[in-house]
């Protein structure tokens, strides 16, 4: 009986089938990266940049946390867009290349957080100086808005099976774009401030999005 039902379903689905093309990888990544970068650049042009930017740029002989964040966020922004595209196609996440790049993505994020945490802890031992700033959170939220909408739009054009994995990846990727704003605007050098005001804010964002998706799925 159920098999007959399945056959009916097949005939009905075939009738409904229509031409629908997938978004190309180039279009997905190029549009996301370009539009997000343009949005962030436009935002940065309209606000006052941090006064100590020249001082940070002048450190050419040693790698500073500023450089590390700059490189790490740039890589995760592009890599995350690529991985989000792959996750929007069933079966692609089972490829070895995807697994390796996915690992690289999370390792970069982890190394960024761990190194900032270590410096923050060292600073904390000298004296607590969190300086939690809502302005930084606000900037992060503004920065995340465009990339996350773009990524969600393109991902939804595909067919996502692993919803929560995609959600975390998309959030972190969008956050990589968003953190450029704080990197160039917030003048704070305290690692405790950077950890709590620039990075910890991603956790409630992911949580809120996960609840939203859960409600949407119901």
């Amino acid at each position: 009986m159920k098999q007959i039902e399945t056959n009916f379903l097949i005939y009905d689905l075939a009738k409904q089938g229509m031409k629908k093309t997938r978004v190309s990888m180039f279009k997905f990544i190029f549009t996301t990266v370009c539009l997000s970068s343009i949005f962030i650049a436009f935002y940065l042009l309209n606000v006052e940049l941090r006064f100590n930017l020249d001082y940070l740029w002048s450190y050419t002989s040693i790698i500073t946390m500023f450089d590390m964040q700059l490189v790490g966020l740039s890589i995760t922004a592009v890599l995350g867009s690529y991985l989000a595209y792959q996750l929007s196609m069933p079966g692609q996440d089972e490829k070895v290349s995807f697994k390796v790049l996915n690992l690289v993505f999370y390792m970069i994020w982890l190394s960024l957080i761990v190194s900032i945490s270590i410096f923050a802890y060292q600073e904390y031992l000298v004296g607590p100086d969190v300086h939690f700033s809502l302005h930084c959170v606000e900037r992060a939220l503004i920065g995340i808005s465009v990339p996350i909408v773009l990524l969600a739009y393109f991902v939804r054009k595909g067919y996502v099976l692993k919803v929560y994995q995609t959600l975390i990846l998309v959030s972190l990727t969008a956050f990589s774009f968003a953190n450029f704003i704080n990197l160039f605007v917030c003048p704070e050098l305290s690692m405790q401030h950077i950890l709590f005001s620039h990075y910890a804010v991603i956790l409630p964002i992911i949580l809120v999005l996960a609840i939203f998706v859960k409600l949407l799925k119901k």
Binding site: K2, Q3, E5, T6, N7, F8, L9, I10, Y11, D12, L13, A14, K15, Q16, G17, M18, K19, K20, T21, R22, S88, M89, P90, G91, D93, E94, G158, Y159, L161, K162
Partner: protein, 204 residues
């Protein structure tokens, strides 16, 4: 002895080669069907879904040990293939692509309904409620939980369930009445039953 071994391995190699060629042929056949289906060809779409259902059914049966569950998952997989066919890239294997959907849907199904199946055996009254065609759902002594679960359904889902189960409409009649496709009725009803099961499970 050594000649025997040689001929044996020779035949095994030939058989392997033939099997590989056969698999390749099947792969190309499915790829072509998928490409035509992507282009909107109804016959190819139907053939693709029928053939892939034939391929997936034994796999699902093997893993679920239950014909009805296997068919339920298969229907979910077919809907998944329908929704995501445009994401299939002909550079890769169609089997890998469809099996990825199948595996995910199977795990999802097992995770969601592991407890429900136990519950269904215990609560015979729920089974009766759905099985009997002449059941009067709005009877005074009707289980409150089921009524509540029905009330919690979205309007369209509740409407379809009531038409199918209370008014004894056929799927086609419901589709005609609501001016929607038969597939739409089936998928909405399928979702409604799932939601009902989930609600009943929560209540119990």
């Amino acid at each position: 002895m050594s000649i025997g071994l040689f001929t044996n391995s020779f035949f095994i190699a030939i058989m392997d080669d033939m099997k590989k060629k056969e698999d390749m042929k099947k792969e190309i056949y499915f790829k072509n069907l998928a490409l035509q289906a992507q282009a909107g060809d109804e016959a190819s779409y139907r053939e693709l879904l029928l053939k892939i259902a034939e391929k997936l059914r034994p796999y699902l049966l093997k893993h679920t040990f239950n014909k009805d569950n296997a068919e339920d998952i298969l229907q979910e997989v077919l809907l998944g293939i329908f929704k995501g066919l445009h994401t299939y890239n002909p550079r890769y294997s169609f089997f890998t692509w469809s099996f990825a959907i199948c595996r995910y849907k199977m795990i999802d199904y097992i995770r969601k309904y592991q407890k429900i199946s136990e519950n269904e055996i215990k609560n015979d009254e729920y089974i009766e409620t759905f099985a009997a065609s002449n059941t009067k759902i709005l009877d005074d002594d009707f289980n409150e939980d089921l009524q509540q679960a029905l009330d919690n359904l979205p309007e369209r889902q509740r409407q379809i369930v009531l038409m199918l189960k209370v008014n004894d409409y056929s799927v086609k009649e419901v589709a005609k009445e609501l001016k929607i496709s038969v597939a739409n009725v089936k998928t909405t009803a399928h979702r409604a039953y799932k939601a009902l099961r989930e609600n009943l499970e929560k209540d119990s």
